[in-house]
Assembly symmetry: C2
């Protein structure tokens, strides 16, 4: 038996999210089905660093699973990718110790959120960016980002549909915005993220960029500890799980 | 009655090509249905600069149609776009004289073909680039391009499934390759293109880039006047109708 750790990329457009669920096709199901086929029908359980919602993409999702197949770790990337549909891909595979756990050992994550900021739509980026027609004040949004960095209780930026019972205190090491031509990239690095947290942060910061809120309202929202104090949840298709640190 | 000329963009992924046909959804059908709805059921015929194949994209397709609706030309872009699915978009609309014809008046066209040249796939460009894993010799391919420029009989670069009866002599003003990071962009400008011509040119030039053919074989192929002398037809999803000149 060997344990494998894989970095997985996927285009979330066609899926009902990462995690197996009764309704809709999921990324986890596609990967588990491919592995089950490779193991001649024996069911293989896949553990991921965390779930992603319907429509959310990943370039840095990390999974682990155990296998008794005699395939060298260096060949797994190709072997498993070839069994997956064209919108899911194993980017890297390596053997790890038997006590490695993709979820429990994750020390931090990076998410990126892409915005296409132009009066004109871009058809060919429509599945991977959130289109905002009106001009955005990037300096105001960067000021808002500074309130997000550090250790805070992020209750106001967590969907009430969460099943989390414990603390909502998280540390955000980086909250930044890069401009790449017509695209804005929101970058968030932290030790953990609550349900819908990045999308609510982006939705709220975009309201700052549109002039509907001031940057220091982020401070008030964090203090309120109430989802209603924050802004809208940005749509899923601009969001990428970018990296998981171990 | 006014005649409108529109520049139309589309993601060809979901379509059985531009032109209306019995099997499969087409871009022309989507546009004509939207116009028919706007005209309260009265059928509106749309003329395009030419057809594009299943899976081929456009940023510069040009169409014309006649309308008796009292909508200023400046509002047509938004009005028609709002009736179209998210993968088809009117980028520009203007009133033209009643004798303008999108097909007969076209003086030249530009096509671009995108190649993702890397051992690693890029999921998020998979629908818009042709993935070539092996390294390509760009200088050889540029040398091949030089044989393509000028006036030639392109019979060898035309699908035998064409219904064209007339001359296959065309003038290519520009055949060039730009490198944009991991992507190669093939640019072809000419007074007209035969059926599958750009895809056969790209497929053949890629064989030069892979070292399977020499650049000056392009000269021999042009002289042969036989489709069998040229290389493979590159797949449709890397191809974009970029611009039509009038």
């Amino acid at each position: 038996m060997q344990r494998l750790k894989c970095r997985v990329e996927y285009d979330g457009t066609a899926y009902a999210g990462y995690q197996v669920q009764p309704n809709g096709v999921t990324i986890q199901a596609k990967i588990e089905n491919a592995l089950t086929q490779m193991h001649k029908g024996e069911r293989v359980k896949v553990i991921a660093s965390g779930r992603t919602d319907a429509g959310v993409h990943a370039v840095g999702q990390v999974i682990h699973f155990d296998t008794n197949l005699h395939i060298p770790a260096s060949n797994w990337k190709r072997a498993l990718s070839s069994m997956l549909p064209s919108d899911i891909r194993v980017a890297n595979a390596e053997q790890v110790s038997e006590d490695f756990h993709a979820r429990y050992d994750a020390k931090g994550k990076e998410y990126r959120y892409y915005v296409w900021n132009s009066p004109e739509a871009n058809l060919f980026r429509r599945l991977y960016t959130y289109h905002i027609r009106k001009p955005l004040d990037i300096e105001s949004m960067r000021e808002a980002c500074r309130w997000v960095e550090g250790e805070h209780d992020f209750t106001s930026f967590c969907s009430p549909r969460t099943d989390l019972k414990g603390s909502k205190v998280r540390t955000i090491r980086k909250a930044a915005i890069e401009q790449q031509g017509t695209e804005l990239v929101f970058i968030f690095k932290g030790n953990g993220f609550l349900y819908n947290m990045v999308r609510i942060l982006v939705g709220t910061i975009l309201e700052v960029g549109l002039g509907d809120r001031t940057p220091d309202e982020l401070k008030t929202m964090l203090a309120a500890g109430d989802r209603k104090s924050a802004g809208k949840t940005a749509p899923p298709h601009g969001l990428f799980l970018w990296n998981v640190d171990y």
